[in-house]
Symmetry: C2
Subunit: 351 residues, 2 copies
């Protein structure tokens, strides 16, 4: 049962029938999205993406905030530019903070705990259930960057989660649309003021086609998709580490189903990325949002990984549309290129 | 020569070839959009729509700001919620402020002049050339809400214009994408922080499909489209006023090509809108962003129009896809309904 546009999307705020039909579609998309998360429709706000959602919840914070130094730029830079007093918990090689660390860092003036459900670069997850239980018990809002997590694994909206943000394009929905969940009656000032759209909390004509795409992409998710990606990722990791000596998977903690971040010691990640790309294998290092920067990944560095290993690391991301033979091919190509680069590097060092 | 996606849009920030092709498309869209306006590519920032663009430029203002009380909600509410000292110029039945009024209102601490190029409800235009010349001469940034204007008539980026915002869906582009022009080296703080997208000024993965749609829709505009819409609008106004006695066009000033706002005296606009809608004619009263409110239009009230006339007013908006026979049909239906409503109203008053 799809929500379908029968033509170009009308403006859901228009009083005429075209507008009212658009409003009906928007309202159904909101209800279905809410039902998917076990939330109330009035707790779902459609946005232009994860960055907008995160900026909306973070910009109004005051007082003491607990986070880490491995958050995505939309959290890291936004919190650092704000007036809050930040505690950035160390995460170490594990790659995620522990609930006990959060508990110790809580102060009487702690206004919020801001964490990603899964890190976008390493895939390492927090123990969301324990973290949410702790925040619920202590009565402190837990604000979750769920951009890297949702679409990869089922997401449980524990009672301790006050807010989360996602991006539709992270699970094959359209770019330019996202969602901000705000548990009622949590209140945050609007980032956009103007019209009364999104229950007066987010002004601007709704991106109806994008919103319907988000809802549809969400409805296609299933535990089977997670299982498939996880099996592929484990196969990738086993094959790569068997085929290539001297590799380390970055992040010791449990990771989401589709992501692996691997150091190929003695190899320059940038060069490896370019060679892989020429051979048709698309990988990343760091997050896409900070690619192009010549610095090694802030996330890896802030996990305590040395610059050399960080520079030799690349991220493989899988989707449910990948196959075992894609992986066999990627592993063979990677093994070949890594061997070549290492041989070249040894020749240079010995000459 | 179209900019085409050969598949789902990749992330322009990704370092691999898919990302780099996406980056190339984004860069071409930016250059072409800049060229369309006679701007530099680095002055064009893609946004999620007009509201985001306007909030971006308005939220950082400090000091004294000159505007009117007939601006769109995205300007009106945002400025009123800010800490600036506002001078709201009266516009009267003309429907737009005069350059001489602006000149008189300028103070030594005037930080900006914020005006819509055309009012979204009445279509009345400001004298943009004179206004821009004045601001240029006085060295005060002129910030233009161009949402209702662009797509209806050619838009000249006069040297006095420091910034303007538009929405793609106002000229048959997609919803959820817009553009903010900021004349270099004008600087404004980002509304979204995070990744380094949009030259570090607007974080968040780019809505590439939307941006290409915006550019394409812009490239299809022409003076012929304006002429066609203007001829249709004049024909609509002549036909309506000939067929229906006791009507007044709201706004005495020159209006953009596609909009007319008409008071049908003695008729309730809300009832007229609903009856027209049932008969297949889609009209609005007020802006879509404030439809659903039972108050008469703030714009008409702030032009000094009495509540009764404001309540009897509706807005007809035309597009280049309308035809003369659409208008003949709309006029016949409107005349019939207005006559019925007036007869009913007279019967009630005399009984």
């Amino acid at each position: 049962m799809h929500l379908e546009l029968s033509g170009p999307p009308a403006n859901p705020s228009s009083a005429h029938s075209f507008g009212q039909r658009a409003k009906g579609l928007l309202s159904k998309a909101r209800s279905r999205t809410a039902a998917y998360f076990g939330a109330k429709p009035e707790e779902i706000f459609f946005t232009s993406g994860g960055t907008e959602g995160l900026n909306t919840i973070l910009r109004s914070l005051k007082g003491h905030v607990i986070t880490t130094a491995i958050e995505h730029s939309a959290v890291h830079h936004t919190l650092r530019a704000s007036s809050v007093e930040l505690t950035e918990l160390p995460v170490g090689l594990w790659g995620a903070p522990q609930p006990a660390q959060v508990e110790e860092a809580i102060r009487p003036d702690t206004a919020a705990i801001v964490l990603s459900a899964a890190n976008g670069e390493t895939g390492v997850k927090i123990d969301l259930e324990a973290m949410a239980a702790l925040c619920h018990k202590r009565g402190i809002p837990l604000l979750i960057d769920a951009v890297a997590a949702i679409g990869k694994e089922p997401f449980t909206l524990y009672p301790g989660i006050a807010s989360f943000a996602l991006s539709a394009h992270k699970f094959h929905g359209p770019k330019g649309v996202g969602l901000l969940y705000l548990r009622a009656p949590t209140s945050f000032p609007s980032l956009f003021t103007g019209g009364a759209q999104e229950m007066g909390r987010r002004a601007g004509t709704e991106n109806l086609a994008g919103i319907l795409g988000l809802q549809e992409a969400l409805s296609l998710l299933s535990p089977q998709i997670t299982e498939k990606m996880l099996a592929l990722r484990m196969y990738l990791e086993q094959s790569l580490t068997q085929a290539i000596p001297d590799t380390t998977i970055n992040g010791l903690g449990p990771r989401i189903a589709n992501t692996t971040n691997i150091a190929f010691h003695g190899v320059d990640g940038e060069t490896l990325l370019m060679q892989l790309d020429l051979a048709g294998v698309a990988v990343s290092h760091g997050s896409a949002c900070s690619s192009g920067s010549l610095e090694p990944s802030r996330v890896l560095i802030n996990m305590g990984i040395d610059r050399k290993r960080a520079r030799s690391s690349i991220r493989f991301s899988l989707s449910r549309f990948n196959t075992k033979s894609d992986i066999d091919r990627a592993v063979a190509i990677t093994a070949h290129i890594v061997a070549q680069l290492r041989a070249l590097s040894n020749r240079c060092h010995h000459s």
